[in-house]
Symmetry: C2
Subunit: 274 residues, 2 copies
């Protein structure tokens, strides 16, 4: 990635080795890292960034505009094969499908449309605001996730709104909303690709609810719209769940960059594990 | 669908003729109807219902849980081939990819996870409410879409909140939100599959904004979460756009059934045509 003698963790852990084409598919070898896990499961946003990078390379387009990932099996740290099929490559947008395969089994299927955010032109009217937050140093450090085994916390510096995370104290609340700051600990600048990661990096706000008795909330599907290239520093994000229906829930995210610009919106469908 | 001597328009216009399997793909012939068009373009929600039905049949699972469609080219009324590839069929969920092909060109690619909403069990906490609306007969009839050529309006009975649609009067507003009622004119009961249609049936609320100078807002990607099987009557829905950035916009929908139960949430990424 143009660096000499070093690389950032996310770039290293999304390194792709091209293996040519087969039946119209672009093949890549990759290594799923254990460094972005929650418990033993590699984080879904990390996997979205991994296959997102492969889709962008196969399409030769720099920015994800909209990426949807359906998670089929739990990934494991170790070798993986990524297969990219290009559905259409037009002038402004290109669309591709990605499969991530480990041990002969498909771990996820993704569908994404890419383009170049630097060329986007048109009117801007934004009615959504960054969540009110004290500065990062006045927030609560730590991801405060659903398990104490959090390799991801060593990679990402998260600062949550004081009092927002209620389940760690055993005090559930009625408010399935979490807001906070996040950035990479190793100084990697936030860019469009990394927004695929940040869109699933926060703990699930549904855990604040009394109804969430288990800390595990596996994602069935995650969709991220990247709306602009972010400034390189902190992201400032809010995630909320408004409807838990029969154990299934949406989680909506709004991600702003350090300057307060809206840079991504995300939605996932997840399920409370019983 | 078990009826003798008649069928509803949406069922007739999503009729699938199985053509066997080829290379692991389930093939279907279909006929894209011109009856659900806006201007000359078949509506995206209708196309989502068409490929959604094919995905459900190939998976042998009754209900869409989450379906994402990327629109690659404008569809045309006439023959189409649908190809379904099953990514995974588990006990509770199945995931499939759909392609819709016309004249040898791919019109859309979709990715969906299906299951059986009747078997869903778990806690329910819903913080989102149906949009306040007068009864259907006190609302404004008509889709009031972006063009006067609206075959879709002959199929769908829409009743908008009085005053909500501002662009037809030339009076733009600051409020990119539309709420209203909708149902099929031929009495077809609303079901889970038809929510894929209703999620894209309303006119784009962004047209209320001064910044929207063209009436055309093509969808790049549409994702629908079906959260419950609806009661058979009216749906009551609200759609809003909160962020128009460089001509790209999200449109979020919340769809309730006649009893006020949340039955679907949708989000699309679209673009103002210049």
């Amino acid at each position: 990635m143009g660096m000499t003698g070093m690389s950032y963790e996310l770039d290293r852990d999304t390194t792709l080795t091209p293996r040519g084409e087969e039946g119209g598919r672009h093949l890549f070898d990759a290594e799923v890292s254990g460094g972005w896990s929650i418990g033993t499961a590699p984080n879904g946003g990390y996997l979205a960034a991994l296959v997102g990078r492969a889709m962008g390379e196969a399409l030769a387009m720099p920015d994800p505009f909209t990426v949807t990932v359906h998670f089929l099996r739990v990934a494991v740290p170790g070798p993986a094969r990524i297969e990219i099929e290009i559905a259409r490559r037009g002038r402004g947008h290109g669309t591709a499908v990605a499969r991530l395969i480990q041990d002969g089994q498909e771990v996820l299927r993704a569908l994404g449309t890419f383009g170049d955010l630097a060329t986007v032109e048109g009117p801007t009217v934004v009615r959504v605001s960054p969540p009110p937050l004290p500065p990062p140093d006045a927030c609560e450090a730590g991801r405060a996730g659903p398990t104490s085994v959090l390799p991801i916390a060593e990679r990402v510096d998260m600062r949550m709104r004081p009092g927002a995370v209620t389940w760690t104290s055993g005090q559930k609340s009625d408010d399935a909303e979490l807001a906070g700051w996040a950035r990479f600990r190793d100084g990697r600048p936030t860019d469009a690709l990394s927004l695929l990661f940040f869109a699933d990096a926060f703990p699930p706000p549904v855990l604040n609810l009394e109804a969430a008795s288990s800390p595990w909330v596996p994602t069935l599907e995650l969709t991220i719209h990247v709306r602009a290239r972010p400034a390189p520093g902190w992201v400032r994000a809010v995630f909320r769940t408004r409807a838990l229906v029969g154990g299934y829930l949406e989680e909506d995210g709004e991600v702003f960059d350090e300057t307060g610009a809206l840079v991504a919106m995300s939605r996932q469908l997840a399920r409370l594990r019983r």
